[in-house]
Symmetry: C2
Subunit: 218 residues, 2 copies
């Protein structure tokens, strides 16, 4: 028996180790790639033994799947929070495009690029992922629905612009791999796209870069 505060229940210990392992997995996916994300490497980076990993996850595929689900789940929750905030204060479509870019460029789509090929060739892995992806898309939908409500745009049309935006961002991030060190290029494309999107969500007749407040992004 030790000090009460020092004592952690088994559930807590278990949860923390799992979290450490999943975070290490995402870090490795992003920094080294799926091929180099081996179970010994994950364990080392998480600071636990490989036995601990096998205790918590059925195997390599399981821990990767769980880690990705965790990442996407967090992103979905962030989206819902952003949607609430956006709805409350009434933001602009530009903000949403910026948010989408920042979110995807901040590891999310780089990690996706790592597991996407595996998902393409591994039906079980893909099936595991699809529900999580749908949950993520629900988060996106919440954000764009908030915008549509404000601009009075048709829901179907809104969804089309949303999907096009996400596809554009995905493609842009793909391109950063073989076209690096060119922020002006990506800024330019994003600016062009914001302009396009604005046409579909006319907010104020005085379409000027005013009325922009702080963008409290979660």
């Amino acid at each position: 028996m030790r000090v009460t505060s020092k004592r952690r229940s088994q559930k807590e210990r278990s949860a923390e180790t799992s979290a450490r392992l999943m975070n290490a997995t995402i870090d490795l996916l992003h920094d080294q790639g799926l091929a180099r994300t081996t179970t010994p490497e994950i364990a080392r980076m998480a600071g636990v033994s490989r036995g601990a990993l096998t205790h918590h996850f059925a195997g390599r595929e399981a821990i990767i799947s769980a880690s990705v689900a965790d990442l996407l789940g967090k992103a979905a929750r962030d989206l819902h929070r952003f949607a609430e905030d956006f709805m409350a204060r009434g933001g602009s479509s530009d903000e949403i495009v910026d948010y989408a870019w920042r979110m995807m460029d901040d590891r999310l789509f780089y990690v996706t690029m790592e597991y996407l090929p595996e998902a393409r060739h591994n039906p079980a892995f893909r099936a595991d992922l699809i529900p999580t992806v749908k949950e993520f898309h629900a988060g996106l939908d919440a954000v764009w629905t908030a915008l549509a409500a404000r601009a009075g745009t048709d829901p179907d049309h809104t969804r089309t612009v949303m999907n096009a935006t996400m596809c554009l961002v995905r493609g842009m991030i793909s391109q950063t791999v073989l076209r690096p060190n060119d922020p002006a290029y990506y800024e330019g494309l994003l600016g062009f796209w914001k302009q396009q999107v604005r046409q579909h969500f006319p907010m104020k007749p005085a379409a000027a870069p005013s009325g922009r407040r702080k963008t409290a992004v979660a």
Copy 2:
């Protein structure tokens, strides 16, 4: 077997074996993924021994790099041919969007999705690829320049629309992995984008059933 030109020059033998190996590599990249594309598997699929592979290529990375360069080179040549034809007969922007989609959806970007993560983490591999990618982009540029010449659009703006189109298509193909069996969705997105692009390249005969009329943006 013995009837037709039983004797082939070494250059011919060598070229054919290399081509067989590179084609097999692309097939495997597309069908099985980079991780499952092993040198024994490539040799087996090409119908040659593994020794032949090591004779022609320095190693696994070399044959993959060469195969991708070959694929992209072919695509670039196709683009230049299309550009010539397009220029001669004066096509529409819709055609170009369709061509880009068909080209990328026809294995090109699926193969790209396989090697892109590797390129991201392997500087040598990436450096090998970048020149080939630039050659491919020159092909794209030829096509869109032909369109711009026809519509009298600013070259910089043309390039922006071109890049946005390619990014959109890249993102759409990425999405097919976790949103399969939904051709209507992709058709819809493509239709939306064709409409947008049309605004930037107004052709003199406004015979197109344009449902949306917007003032061209600066």
